[in-house]
């Protein structure tokens, strides 16, 4: 039973997007596609427990969802032509290799990122339909309340249906205007997998792997777009550190404390090579700059070799490009390393980002390094009120314990767990 449960969880993460994408292609109805995919997963619970997990869970789920859609279409007595079309669908083929052939998921991604939809709707829709994230999870990732997010999804699907937004990869000349949204979505997808916004696990590796796979497809589809290359480089460079980011207790390990021998050298080398190629095109954008920052970290042999002034300069450039308060928080960290915590605090003083736990967490860390323990403790408490993952909560609690006065009135330094 546990095996079936594990297989179901894995199938959901790996296959949800493909099942929904295929059903949308067949039926043209997003809600029907999602409902039938959900039904297929529900049916799998009983069926797999009875008959065992099928050899190709994705194919099983797609066939089951297709049959469910046929039943529904028959019952609703919709157009006979649509019914014939769906009925004529052959059994799903085995997963194609990622040879760059645009697949249903890529088509779905470009449908979600149609410029007739608002950027907000594009991102929300892709995370929901492609990655199977719940509205609650998407809401947290985008800092939007769940009811508002649900409304946004309903409106976007209605517009796709009523306005006749086609389900296809657009012709080459239409790709550039959609690229920024597609890149943004892939990055969010990766980030959601790299540091999940909720739950006990810090990482949902399947999401990151899927984002990297799609970024490769995209890079092959548009080799002349330096930002697409930059994004792939960025994802690889960040992913290379995943094994070192969490210790054996499942706790977060800061970049400076990570065991660099556990970084994936092949991924770093590939990321750096891709980045160099992209930068030679002379059109640096936010993803290339972020990849350059990740490359600075990835190529430093030891933490103390890190070129912080270079990283702080790159963040300055990124902040000018994006005007993002999240970037400003990161810049404060880099400036804090390059020029000292006082300078970092000065950068933070201009940042306004309600609800974002890393803002007070960063302030707390800079204050802690200045020995201003009372203020640091207050900031750690602010951060703890906002944090949503258990792993980060434990990390912040440990840090808070370090700066809080101990029973003797002294800061209880060195109380952190040895790693």
């Amino acid at each position: 039973m546990t095996d079936v449960h594990t297989a179901l969880v894995r199938a959901f993460r790996d296959e949800w997007g493909q099942v929904v994408a295929t059903l949308i292609r067949l039926t043209g109805d997003w809600d029907l596609a999602e409902e039938c995919a959900q039904d297929a997963f529900t049916q799998a619970v009983g069926s797999w427990a009875r008959d065992g997990v099928p050899r190709r869970p994705g194919a099983w789920l797609t066939t089951t969802a297709r049959n469910r859609a046929l039943d529904r279409l028959r019952r609703d007595a919709v157009g006979a032509a649509k019914l014939r079309e769906v009925a004529a669908m052959p059994d799903p083929e085995p997963e194609p290799d990622d040879s760059g052939v645009p697949d249903d998921r890529l088509r779905l991604m470009f449908t979600c990122c149609h410029p007739a939809l608002s950027l907000d709707a594009q991102v929300a829709l892709t995370l929901r339909t492609l990655a199977g994230l719940t509205p609650a999870e998407i809401g947290r990732a985008l800092l939007v309340a769940e009811p508002a997010l649900r409304k946004r999804l309903v409106r976007a699907k209605q517009k796709i249906r009523h306005a006749g937004i086609p389900y296809r990869v657009p012709p080459a000349h239409l790709l550039p205007e959609r690229t920024p949204a597609v890149l943004a979505v892939l990055y969010l997808l990766f980030t959601e997998g790299y540091s999940a916004t909720a739950g006990a696990d810090l990482q949902r590796r399947e999401l990151s792997a899927e984002a990297i796979r799609l970024a490769r497809v995209l890079h092959r589809l548009m080799p002349d777009e330096p930002e697409a290359t930059g994004l792939l480089a960025l994802l690889l460079l960040q992913d290379a550190r995943r094994d070192a980011r969490v210790d054996e207790y499942g706790d977060l390990v800061l970049l400076t404390d990570q065991d660099r021998s556990r970084w994936d050298r092949a991924e770093i080398a590939e990321g750096v090579a891709l980045l160099d190629g992209a930068l030679r095109r002379g059109a640096p954008g936010p993803y290339q700059v972020q990849a350059a920052i990740a490359a600075c970290h990835g190529t430093a042999e030891r933490a103390e070799d890190t070129d912080w002034p270079q990283i702080a300069a790159l963040y300055g450039r990124l902040a000018a490009m994006t005007r993002s308060p999240v970037v400003a928080v990161n810049r404060a960290v880099a400036v804090g390393m390059a020029s000292g915590p006082e300078a970092g605090l000065r950068v933070l003083s201009d940042v306004d980002l309600p609800g974002y736990h890393l803002l007070p967490a960063t302030r707390a860390d800079l204050l802690r390094r200045l020995g201003r323990h009372d203020e640091a403790a207050r900031a750690y408490r602010d951060a703890l009120e906002l944090v949503t993952t258990e792993t980060e909560r434990r990390f912040l609690s440990r840090r808070l314990a370090e700066v809080e006065p101990g029973p003797g009135g002294q800061p209880a330094a060195g109380r952190s767990r040895p790693t």
């Binding site: 006749g164 086609p166 239409l174």
Partner: protein, 107 residues
């Protein structure tokens, strides 16, 4: 699918009232996507009708106070939104005004 192209422009659009469509209508008629359409008299000749509590209320001018006003419309029938956008983008008014593409309500 059917779409209404609402051809909008600012005050300067009046200069283009006599322009014609530079062959757009002919091309679209040949493609078989054109179902109808016309240019409209300027907004100050419009009358807006509302019925509230069984009373017919008339007001002078277009219903929306905006610099951009509808100056004409075309009804087209084509495969999907991308094709409708392609058709609209070929209309000369798109180069000085704007064109709102609205899908026709389908029961």
């Amino acid at each position: 699918m059917q779409y209404m192209l609402l051809i909008c422009g600012g005050p300067e659009a009046a200069e283009h009232a006599e322009d014609g469509c530079e062959g757009w209508s002919e091309e679209m008629a040949e493609r078989g996507v054109l179902r109808g359409g016309a240019g409209l008299r300027p907004p100050h000749e419009a009358t807006t009708v509302r019925v509230r509590s069984d009373e017919v209320l008339l007001s002078d001018g277009p219903f929306a106070e905006s610099r951009e006003q509808v100056g004409g419309f075309c009804l087209i029938e084509c495969g999907n939104l991308d094709e409708a956008v392609e058709i609209a983008s070929k209309h000369p008014a798109a180069t000085y005004g704007s064109i709102e593409v609205r899908p026709i309500w389908q029961p």
